[in-house]
Symmetry: C2
Subunit: 250 residues, 2 copies
């Protein structure tokens, strides 16, 4: 039995998210189908976590087990020859038997791209940005600072999960240069994220950037733990899972 670890990229536009579903096209479903073609048997692919419908990935990390080992088998090349073009294996290698893509993850980094020009959104960027219009970056960065650190993020979690604790440690929320002059990129790193937490945090940051919310109100929302007080979840297509980090043993 050999455990294989892979880094996978996908464009989420035409996927109903990560997790396998009976009727819908999903990333996990495409990976498992391709492995079935190669191995002639069903194989479960474990991801570092689910991504929602429309969310992209540059560095989703996954693992699966190959019963007969197949030493030296060219997983990357073979899977990329079978997979549809909107999902690609960037890296594949044997991993320790106790490596686990989900439980071994110690931090994740996502990026959310905003489009700020009110009059148009560039067609080439429409699948990768939310066109929220003009915002005040300084106000957003003040709110980002208030949200960074160890907090109970219950106010930023959507329903439909069964996690125990809603406490997470966000180590970074920072603004970066976008692909065009009309964009900004917001990077989020944490030990983990709750369901749609980043899309809810971005909704809060943009409300601040539009002058509709102040830092004190952001602190009050965070402390309330009340989802209904925080701004609405923003669209998925601005979001990309960039990187998953594992401990020194992996």
């Amino acid at each position: 039995m050999t455990r294989i670890r892979m880094v996978v990229a996908y464009e989420g536009t035409e996927f109903c998210g990560w997790q396998v579903q009976p009727a819908d096209r999903t990333v996990q479903g495409e990976l498992e189908r391709a492995l079935h073609t190669i191995l002639g048997r069903e194989v479960r692919v474990h991801g570092s976590g689910r991504t929602d419908s429309g969310v992209h990935a540059l560095g989703q990390t996954v693992h699966f087990d190959v019963p007969d080992g197949r030493p030296g088998f060219p997983w990357r090349r073979s899977l990329n020859a079978i997979l549809p073009r909107d999902v690609r294996v960037l890296d594949a290698a044997p991993a320790p038997g106790d490596f686990h893509a989900r439980y071994g993850a110690v931090s994740k980094t996502y990026e959310y791209c905003l489009w700020h020009e009110r009059e148009f959104c560039l067609p080439q960027r429409r699948r990768f940005v939310w066109d929220c219009g003009p915002v005040d970056f300084a106000r957003m960065e003040a709110a980002a600072k208030a949200l960074t650190g160890e907090h109970d993020f219950a106010a930023f979690q959507n329903v439909g999960t069964d996690v125990g604790s809603t406490v997470r440690t966000v180590t970074d929320i920072s603004r970066h240069v976008g692909a065009t002059a009309h964009e900004s990129v917001w990077r989020f790193t944490a030990d983990g994220f709750l369901k749609q937490m980043i899309r809810n945090l971005v909704g809060c940051l943009v409300a601040c950037g539009r002058g509709k919310l102040g830092v004190d109100e952001v602190r009050a929302i965070l402390e309330s733990g009340d989802r209904t007080l925080a701004p609405a979840t923003v669209p998925p297509q601005g979001l990309t899972l960039v990187r998953v980090e594992y401990g020194p043993d992996n």
Copy 2:
């Protein structure tokens, strides 16, 4: 009668090129349809030139005439409210009555994006690059230098046009940094380009970059004027019309 000049961007993926056609979806067709919705009459939109099926634009320039003038009408906002999301008006303004998007153009700039990583092409970039694999940039740049200047580019023109002269002056062929570390961007500026000339020039450059052609052979192909001696036309999706320049009167 007022002449309106506009700068238009589009993602060419789902268009059968620029030029209006009876059955197919084209950029000119979508613009003319949107103008018909606004004006209630047929209006011809003149572009700086055609782009092929699958070719993108960041700065296609167009003009059209509005019989009743409509001073102060918000063309950009109104058209963007009607147009499909893969074509956008970036700028619109009244122009002198003798401005002509095609005949007034004094130079055009295109960019072609190459993807060099052999093992995968990032899904997010697949609509905008040609994944030609590894190449030697120095060899390509030597060939680019030989192709720059005033030449008869008959060897790089595909059939199906009725141009008089095949002499063009290419003022720039240069390499630029791509959107990711796996890409290079090749910028072409000239007083005009023949049919599929850039995609034929890129085919020639990449053949040099792969070591299959030398600079002396490139010069010989250019001098021969024989299309059959030059490498094949490369795919359209790497190509973007970036900018059209007009004379000082416009």
